[in-house]
Assembly symmetry: C2
Homo-oligomer: 222 residues x 2
Protein backbone atom coordinates (compact mmCIF):
# COMPACT_ATOMS: atom_id res chain seq x y z
CA UNK A 1 0.00 0.00 0.00
CA UNK A 2 1.09 3.57 -0.58
CA UNK A 3 2.31 5.42 2.50
CA UNK A 4 2.12 9.19 2.80
CA UNK A 5 4.20 11.10 5.34
CA UNK A 6 2.42 14.38 5.90
CA UNK A 7 1.34 17.12 8.26
CA UNK A 8 -2.41 17.57 8.44
CA UNK A 9 -2.35 21.39 8.48
CA UNK A 10 0.11 21.73 5.56
CA UNK A 11 -1.41 22.81 2.26
CA UNK A 12 1.29 20.98 0.31
CA UNK A 13 0.34 17.76 2.11
CA UNK A 14 -3.38 18.40 1.63
CA UNK A 15 -2.85 18.45 -2.16
CA UNK A 16 -1.73 14.84 -2.05
CA UNK A 17 -4.52 13.66 0.29
CA UNK A 18 -7.09 15.36 -1.93
CA UNK A 19 -5.73 13.68 -5.06
CA UNK A 20 -5.51 10.26 -3.40
CA UNK A 21 -9.12 10.63 -2.23
CA UNK A 22 -10.28 11.63 -5.71
CA UNK A 23 -8.46 8.71 -7.29
CA UNK A 24 -9.84 6.34 -4.65
CA UNK A 25 -6.36 5.04 -3.91
CA UNK A 26 -5.97 3.44 -0.48
CA UNK A 27 -3.00 4.67 1.53
CA UNK A 28 -1.56 4.79 5.01
CA UNK A 29 -1.13 8.29 6.43
CA UNK A 30 1.84 8.81 8.74
CA UNK A 31 1.75 12.10 10.61
CA UNK A 32 4.98 14.08 10.68
CA UNK A 33 4.59 17.21 12.76
CA UNK A 34 7.04 19.87 11.58
CA UNK A 35 6.05 22.02 14.52
CA UNK A 36 7.45 19.36 16.86
CA UNK A 37 10.54 18.72 14.71
CA UNK A 38 9.39 15.21 13.75
CA UNK A 39 10.86 15.83 10.27
CA UNK A 40 14.32 16.28 11.78
CA UNK A 41 14.66 12.87 13.44
CA UNK A 42 17.41 10.56 12.11
CA UNK A 43 14.68 8.09 11.07
CA UNK A 44 12.86 10.62 8.92
CA UNK A 45 16.05 12.09 7.43
CA UNK A 46 16.92 8.57 6.25
CA UNK A 47 13.71 8.66 4.20
CA UNK A 48 14.10 12.25 2.98
CA UNK A 49 17.44 13.99 3.65
CA UNK A 50 15.73 17.32 3.00
CA UNK A 51 13.42 16.72 5.98
CA UNK A 52 10.34 17.82 4.08
CA UNK A 53 6.79 16.62 3.74
CA UNK A 54 4.78 15.47 1.88
CA UNK A 55 6.82 12.37 1.17
CA UNK A 56 5.34 9.39 -0.67
CA UNK A 57 6.61 5.88 -0.01
CA UNK A 58 5.85 3.41 -2.78
CA UNK A 59 5.14 -0.26 -2.06
CA UNK A 60 8.66 -1.26 -3.17
CA UNK A 61 10.19 1.10 -0.58
CA UNK A 62 11.14 3.96 -2.91
CA UNK A 63 10.48 7.53 -1.80
CA UNK A 64 9.24 10.51 -3.78
CA UNK A 65 9.43 14.10 -2.50
CA UNK A 66 7.93 17.41 -3.69
CA UNK A 67 4.17 17.76 -3.78
CA UNK A 68 4.13 18.63 -7.49
CA UNK A 69 6.11 15.55 -8.46
CA UNK A 70 3.90 13.36 -6.26
CA UNK A 71 0.74 14.77 -7.88
CA UNK A 72 2.10 14.15 -11.38
CA UNK A 73 3.19 10.61 -10.46
CA UNK A 74 -0.13 9.64 -8.94
CA UNK A 75 -2.33 11.31 -11.58
CA UNK A 76 -0.56 9.66 -14.53
CA UNK A 77 -3.14 7.90 -16.67
CA UNK A 78 -6.11 9.55 -14.94
CA UNK A 79 -8.30 12.35 -16.33
CA UNK A 80 -6.65 14.70 -13.83
CA UNK A 81 -3.44 14.78 -15.91
CA UNK A 82 -4.14 15.20 -19.65
CA UNK A 83 -2.37 12.93 -22.12
CA UNK A 84 -2.22 15.58 -24.85
CA UNK A 85 1.23 17.08 -24.94
CA UNK A 86 0.38 20.79 -24.83
CA UNK A 87 -2.35 20.45 -22.19
CA UNK A 88 0.02 18.40 -20.05
CA UNK A 89 2.66 21.12 -20.37
CA UNK A 90 0.12 23.75 -19.38
CA UNK A 91 -0.73 21.75 -16.26
CA UNK A 92 2.96 21.80 -15.35
CA UNK A 93 3.14 25.49 -16.21
CA UNK A 94 0.59 26.27 -13.49
CA UNK A 95 2.15 23.87 -11.04
CA UNK A 96 5.53 25.55 -11.46
CA UNK A 97 3.84 28.94 -11.09
CA UNK A 98 2.33 27.70 -7.84
CA UNK A 99 5.61 26.50 -6.37
CA UNK A 100 7.66 29.48 -7.58
CA UNK A 101 5.35 32.50 -7.33
CA UNK A 102 2.36 31.54 -5.17
CA UNK A 103 3.19 29.08 -2.40
CA UNK A 104 6.35 30.86 -1.13
CA UNK A 105 4.20 33.90 -0.30
CA UNK A 106 0.69 32.62 0.39
CA UNK A 107 1.62 29.44 2.24
CA UNK A 108 4.49 31.04 4.13
CA UNK A 109 2.22 33.84 5.37
CA UNK A 110 -0.33 31.33 6.67
CA UNK A 111 2.37 29.16 8.23
CA UNK A 112 4.07 31.94 10.15
CA UNK A 113 1.06 34.13 10.93
CA UNK A 114 -1.44 31.39 11.74
CA UNK A 115 0.26 28.09 12.58
CA UNK A 116 3.46 29.05 14.38
CA UNK A 117 3.15 30.57 17.82
CA UNK A 118 5.13 33.81 17.76
CA UNK A 119 5.69 33.50 14.03
CA UNK A 120 4.74 37.09 13.26
CA UNK A 121 7.49 38.40 15.49
CA UNK A 122 10.05 35.95 14.09
CA UNK A 123 9.32 36.87 10.47
CA UNK A 124 8.19 40.46 10.75
CA UNK A 125 10.49 41.59 7.92
CA UNK A 126 8.85 39.18 5.48
CA UNK A 127 5.21 40.16 5.91
CA UNK A 128 5.25 43.00 3.34
CA UNK A 129 6.97 40.82 0.77
CA UNK A 130 4.47 37.99 1.29
CA UNK A 131 1.61 40.43 0.83
CA UNK A 132 3.08 41.94 -2.35
CA UNK A 133 4.03 38.62 -3.95
CA UNK A 134 0.87 36.86 -2.79
CA UNK A 135 -1.47 39.50 -4.20
CA UNK A 136 0.52 39.50 -7.45
CA UNK A 137 -0.02 35.74 -7.73
CA UNK A 138 -3.73 36.11 -6.96
CA UNK A 139 -3.92 38.75 -9.71
CA UNK A 140 -2.41 36.34 -12.23
CA UNK A 141 -4.97 33.71 -11.23
CA UNK A 142 -7.85 36.20 -11.40
CA UNK A 143 -6.96 37.27 -14.96
CA UNK A 144 -6.62 33.68 -16.11
CA UNK A 145 -9.83 32.46 -14.46
CA UNK A 146 -11.92 35.41 -15.62
CA UNK A 147 -12.59 33.55 -18.86
CA UNK A 148 -12.08 29.93 -17.83
CA UNK A 149 -13.77 27.50 -15.41
CA UNK A 150 -10.51 25.73 -14.50
CA UNK A 151 -6.82 26.40 -15.16
CA UNK A 152 -6.29 24.07 -18.12
CA UNK A 153 -8.46 22.55 -20.81
CA UNK A 154 -11.81 23.55 -19.30
CA UNK A 155 -11.71 20.80 -16.71
CA UNK A 156 -10.33 19.94 -13.31
CA UNK A 157 -6.69 18.84 -13.34
CA UNK A 158 -3.89 18.54 -10.81
CA UNK A 159 -3.05 22.18 -11.63
CA UNK A 160 -6.31 23.13 -9.89
CA UNK A 161 -5.59 20.81 -6.97
CA UNK A 162 -2.11 22.31 -6.57
CA UNK A 163 -3.41 25.88 -6.61
CA UNK A 164 -6.54 25.20 -4.55
CA UNK A 165 -4.69 23.86 -1.52
CA UNK A 166 -3.18 27.14 -0.36
CA UNK A 167 -5.62 29.53 -2.03
CA UNK A 168 -8.67 28.20 -0.20
CA UNK A 169 -7.02 29.05 3.12
CA UNK A 170 -5.29 32.24 1.91
CA UNK A 171 -7.34 34.26 4.37
CA UNK A 172 -5.51 32.48 7.20
CA UNK A 173 -2.39 34.18 5.81
CA UNK A 174 -4.27 37.50 5.90
CA UNK A 175 -5.08 37.73 2.20
CA UNK A 176 -8.49 39.22 1.39
CA UNK A 177 -10.13 37.49 -1.58
CA UNK A 178 -12.99 39.99 -1.88
CA UNK A 179 -11.44 41.63 -4.92
CA UNK A 180 -10.90 38.31 -6.70
CA UNK A 181 -14.36 37.12 -7.79
CA UNK A 182 -13.08 34.77 -10.49
CA UNK A 183 -10.78 33.09 -7.97
CA UNK A 184 -13.67 32.73 -5.52
CA UNK A 185 -15.91 31.23 -8.21
CA UNK A 186 -13.18 28.77 -9.14
CA UNK A 187 -12.64 27.79 -5.48
CA UNK A 188 -16.35 26.93 -5.28
CA UNK A 189 -16.17 24.87 -8.49
CA UNK A 190 -13.18 22.89 -7.24
CA UNK A 191 -14.90 22.23 -3.91
CA UNK A 192 -18.07 21.06 -5.72
CA UNK A 193 -16.25 18.60 -8.00
CA UNK A 194 -16.82 14.86 -7.48
CA UNK A 195 -14.77 13.20 -4.77
CA UNK A 196 -13.69 16.42 -3.10
CA UNK A 197 -12.52 16.24 0.51
CA UNK A 198 -11.63 19.04 2.89
CA UNK A 199 -8.31 19.77 4.50
CA UNK A 200 -9.25 17.87 7.67
CA UNK A 201 -9.99 14.64 5.82
CA UNK A 202 -7.96 11.58 6.80
CA UNK A 203 -8.02 8.06 5.40
CA UNK A 204 -9.05 5.14 7.59
CA UNK A 205 -5.43 3.99 7.87
CA UNK A 206 -3.64 6.66 9.90
CA UNK A 207 -0.65 6.49 12.18
CA UNK A 208 0.53 9.03 14.70
CA UNK A 209 -1.02 12.26 15.80
CA UNK A 210 -0.87 15.84 14.62
CA UNK A 211 -1.40 19.19 16.23
CA UNK A 212 -2.36 22.52 14.78
CA UNK A 213 0.12 24.87 16.38
CA UNK A 214 3.54 24.79 18.00
CA UNK A 215 6.91 26.42 18.17
CA UNK A 216 8.61 25.78 14.85
CA UNK A 217 11.80 27.20 13.49
CA UNK A 218 11.63 26.07 9.89
CA UNK A 219 9.18 25.82 7.06
CA UNK A 220 9.75 22.43 5.57
CA UNK A 221 6.58 21.66 3.69
CA UNK A 222 7.24 21.48 -0.03
CA UNK B 1 9.37 27.22 -36.51
CA UNK B 2 9.52 27.52 -32.73
CA UNK B 3 10.01 31.02 -31.39
CA UNK B 4 11.63 31.69 -28.02
CA UNK B 5 11.20 35.01 -26.23
CA UNK B 6 14.12 35.28 -23.85
CA UNK B 7 16.76 37.40 -22.17
CA UNK B 8 20.30 36.27 -22.91
CA UNK B 9 21.62 36.79 -19.36
CA UNK B 10 18.71 35.00 -17.65
CA UNK B 11 19.46 31.53 -16.32
CA UNK B 12 15.84 30.45 -16.77
CA UNK B 13 16.07 31.41 -20.45
CA UNK B 14 19.44 29.70 -20.85
CA UNK B 15 17.86 26.40 -19.77
CA UNK B 16 15.61 26.47 -22.81
CA UNK B 17 18.35 27.50 -25.27
CA UNK B 18 20.57 24.72 -23.93
CA UNK B 19 17.84 22.12 -24.35
CA UNK B 20 16.91 23.33 -27.85
CA UNK B 21 20.58 23.17 -28.85
CA UNK B 22 20.94 19.65 -27.47
CA UNK B 23 17.81 18.49 -29.26
CA UNK B 24 18.97 20.16 -32.48
CA UNK B 25 15.63 21.93 -32.82
CA UNK B 26 15.73 25.06 -35.00
CA UNK B 27 14.13 28.14 -33.42
CA UNK B 28 13.96 31.88 -33.70
CA UNK B 29 15.25 33.76 -30.68
CA UNK B 30 13.49 37.03 -29.83
CA UNK B 31 15.30 39.12 -27.25
CA UNK B 32 13.17 40.58 -24.47
CA UNK B 33 15.27 42.73 -22.18
CA UNK B 34 13.69 42.82 -18.71
CA UNK B 35 16.22 45.45 -17.68
CA UNK B 36 14.72 47.80 -20.27
CA UNK B 37 11.11 46.84 -19.46
CA UNK B 38 10.60 45.12 -22.82
CA UNK B 39 8.48 42.51 -21.01
CA UNK B 40 6.02 45.20 -19.92
CA UNK B 41 4.97 46.45 -23.34
CA UNK B 42 1.32 45.92 -24.38
CA UNK B 43 2.55 43.70 -27.22
CA UNK B 44 4.43 41.36 -24.93
CA UNK B 45 1.71 41.29 -22.27
CA UNK B 46 -0.69 40.09 -24.99
CA UNK B 47 1.57 37.07 -25.39
CA UNK B 48 2.15 36.48 -21.68
CA UNK B 49 0.02 38.49 -19.22
CA UNK B 50 2.55 37.68 -16.51
CA UNK B 51 5.26 39.54 -18.43
CA UNK B 52 7.81 36.82 -17.87
CA UNK B 53 10.43 35.09 -19.95
CA UNK B 54 11.24 32.52 -21.20
CA UNK B 55 8.11 32.21 -23.30
CA UNK B 56 7.81 29.64 -26.06
CA UNK B 57 5.62 30.28 -29.10
CA UNK B 58 4.58 27.15 -30.97
CA UNK B 59 4.12 27.14 -34.75
CA UNK B 60 0.31 27.24 -34.37
CA UNK B 61 0.55 30.46 -32.32
CA UNK B 62 0.05 29.00 -28.87
CA UNK B 63 2.26 30.21 -26.00
CA UNK B 64 3.83 28.27 -23.15
CA UNK B 65 5.33 29.97 -20.08
CA UNK B 66 7.49 28.72 -17.18
CA UNK B 67 10.92 27.33 -17.94
CA UNK B 68 10.17 23.98 -16.29
CA UNK B 69 7.02 23.42 -18.33
CA UNK B 70 8.84 24.41 -21.52
CA UNK B 71 11.66 21.95 -20.77
CA UNK B 72 9.20 19.12 -20.13
CA UNK B 73 7.23 19.94 -23.29
CA UNK B 74 10.29 20.04 -25.54
CA UNK B 75 12.05 17.02 -24.02
CA UNK B 76 9.02 14.72 -24.33
CA UNK B 77 10.03 11.59 -26.24
CA UNK B 78 13.76 12.36 -26.01
CA UNK B 79 16.30 10.60 -23.73
CA UNK B 80 16.41 13.79 -21.65
CA UNK B 81 12.99 13.00 -20.13
CA UNK B 82 12.65 9.36 -19.08
CA UNK B 83 9.54 7.42 -20.07
CA UNK B 84 9.54 5.28 -16.96
CA UNK B 85 7.00 6.60 -14.50
CA UNK B 86 9.11 6.85 -11.35
CA UNK B 87 12.19 8.26 -13.09
CA UNK B 88 9.99 10.85 -14.79
CA UNK B 89 8.54 11.83 -11.41
CA UNK B 90 12.03 12.14 -9.95
CA UNK B 91 12.99 14.49 -12.79
CA UNK B 92 10.02 16.66 -11.86
CA UNK B 93 10.92 16.38 -8.17
CA UNK B 94 14.28 18.07 -8.85
CA UNK B 95 12.76 20.62 -11.20
CA UNK B 96 10.23 21.64 -8.53
CA UNK B 97 13.05 21.78 -5.99
CA UNK B 98 14.92 24.09 -8.34
CA UNK B 99 12.02 26.49 -8.82
CA UNK B 100 10.94 26.44 -5.16
CA UNK B 101 14.13 26.20 -3.12
CA UNK B 102 17.07 27.02 -5.39
CA UNK B 103 16.27 29.60 -8.07
CA UNK B 104 14.50 32.11 -5.78
CA UNK B 105 17.73 32.47 -3.80
CA UNK B 106 20.58 31.70 -6.18
CA UNK B 107 19.17 33.38 -9.27
CA UNK B 108 17.75 36.34 -7.38
CA UNK B 109 21.14 37.00 -5.75
CA UNK B 110 22.88 36.99 -9.15
CA UNK B 111 20.17 39.15 -10.72
CA UNK B 112 20.24 41.87 -8.09
CA UNK B 113 23.92 41.76 -7.14
CA UNK B 114 25.40 41.31 -10.61
CA UNK B 115 22.94 42.30 -13.35
CA UNK B 116 20.98 45.22 -11.92
CA UNK B 117 22.84 48.46 -11.41
CA UNK B 118 22.22 49.53 -7.81
CA UNK B 119 20.50 46.22 -7.05
CA UNK B 120 22.40 45.59 -3.84
CA UNK B 121 21.12 48.79 -2.32
CA UNK B 122 17.56 48.12 -3.50
CA UNK B 123 17.47 44.63 -2.02
CA UNK B 124 19.83 44.91 0.91
CA UNK B 125 17.38 43.22 3.30
CA UNK B 126 17.22 40.10 1.13
CA UNK B 127 20.94 39.32 0.86
CA UNK B 128 21.17 37.29 4.09
CA UNK B 129 18.08 35.27 3.18
CA UNK B 130 19.44 34.52 -0.31
CA UNK B 131 22.71 33.36 1.20
CA UNK B 132 21.01 31.13 3.78
CA UNK B 133 18.51 29.60 1.37
CA UNK B 134 21.00 29.32 -1.47
CA UNK B 135 23.61 27.49 0.59
CA UNK B 136 20.89 25.20 1.96
CA UNK B 137 19.93 24.30 -1.62
CA UNK B 138 23.57 23.72 -2.57
CA UNK B 139 23.86 21.44 0.47
CA UNK B 140 20.91 19.35 -0.73
CA UNK B 141 22.53 19.06 -4.16
CA UNK B 142 25.93 18.14 -2.68
CA UNK B 143 24.47 15.30 -0.58
CA UNK B 144 22.53 13.93 -3.53
CA UNK B 145 25.42 14.16 -6.00
CA UNK B 146 27.99 12.70 -3.62
CA UNK B 147 26.95 9.23 -4.78
CA UNK B 148 25.50 9.94 -8.23
CA UNK B 149 26.86 11.28 -11.54
CA UNK B 150 23.59 13.08 -12.42
CA UNK B 151 20.37 13.87 -10.55
CA UNK B 152 18.18 11.05 -11.86
CA UNK B 153 18.76 7.58 -13.27
CA UNK B 154 22.53 7.93 -13.70
CA UNK B 155 22.23 10.02 -16.83
CA UNK B 156 21.71 13.57 -18.01
CA UNK B 157 18.08 14.72 -17.95
CA UNK B 158 16.25 18.03 -17.97
CA UNK B 159 16.57 18.00 -14.17
CA UNK B 160 20.31 18.55 -14.67
CA UNK B 161 19.71 21.24 -17.28
CA UNK B 162 17.29 23.04 -14.94
CA UNK B 163 19.72 22.96 -12.02
CA UNK B 164 22.85 23.66 -14.06
CA UNK B 165 21.63 26.97 -15.46
CA UNK B 166 21.81 28.97 -12.26
CA UNK B 167 24.33 26.83 -10.38
CA UNK B 168 27.10 27.28 -12.94
CA UNK B 169 26.93 31.05 -12.44
CA UNK B 170 26.19 30.92 -8.69
CA UNK B 171 29.47 32.71 -7.99
CA UNK B 172 28.04 35.76 -9.75
CA UNK B 173 25.47 35.79 -6.93
CA UNK B 174 28.36 35.60 -4.44
CA UNK B 175 28.08 31.91 -3.61
CA UNK B 176 31.38 30.13 -3.06
CA UNK B 177 31.32 26.57 -4.44
CA UNK B 178 34.66 25.57 -2.93
CA UNK B 179 32.97 23.51 -0.21
CA UNK B 180 30.78 21.65 -2.72
CA UNK B 181 33.09 19.27 -4.58
CA UNK B 182 30.31 16.95 -5.76
CA UNK B 183 28.43 19.91 -7.22
CA UNK B 184 31.59 21.09 -8.99
CA UNK B 185 32.21 17.64 -10.41
CA UNK B 186 28.64 17.46 -11.66
CA UNK B 187 28.90 20.93 -13.27
CA UNK B 188 31.93 19.68 -15.20
CA UNK B 189 30.08 16.52 -16.30
CA UNK B 190 27.09 18.52 -17.55
CA UNK B 191 29.37 20.91 -19.46
CA UNK B 192 31.21 17.96 -21.03
CA UNK B 193 28.05 16.22 -22.25
CA UNK B 194 27.37 16.04 -26.01
CA UNK B 195 25.76 19.10 -27.57
CA UNK B 196 26.46 21.41 -24.65
CA UNK B 197 26.43 25.15 -25.32
CA UNK B 198 27.36 27.99 -23.01
CA UNK B 199 25.15 30.77 -21.71
CA UNK B 200 26.25 33.14 -24.48
CA UNK B 201 25.19 30.79 -27.27
CA UNK B 202 22.58 32.05 -29.75
CA UNK B 203 20.95 30.32 -32.69
CA UNK B 204 21.46 31.64 -36.21
CA UNK B 205 17.94 33.06 -36.26
CA UNK B 206 17.90 35.89 -33.74
CA UNK B 207 15.88 39.07 -33.53
CA UNK B 208 16.50 42.11 -31.38
CA UNK B 209 19.38 42.94 -29.12
CA UNK B 210 20.19 42.31 -25.52
CA UNK B 211 22.33 44.00 -22.92
CA UNK B 212 23.97 42.72 -19.80
CA UNK B 213 23.07 45.37 -17.25
CA UNK B 214 20.49 48.08 -16.70
CA UNK B 215 18.12 49.62 -14.19
CA UNK B 216 15.40 47.09 -13.51
CA UNK B 217 12.74 47.14 -10.87
CA UNK B 218 11.37 43.63 -11.17
CA UNK B 219 12.62 40.09 -11.48
CA UNK B 220 10.45 38.53 -14.11
CA UNK B 221 12.40 35.56 -15.33
CA UNK B 222 10.63 32.33 -14.43
Amino acid sequence: MLKLYAMQSSGNCYKVRLLLAKLGLPFTLVDVDLLRGENRTPEFLMKNPEGRVPLLELPGGRFLAESGAILAYLAEGSPLLPDERFARAEVLRWMFFEQHSHEPAIAAARFWLKLVRGGRELRTHDVDRWQEEGYAALGVMERHLARRPFFVDGRLTIADIALYAHTHVAEEGEFDLTGFPAVRGWLARVAAAPGHVGMDWRPDASLGSDTGAGDATLVNAS
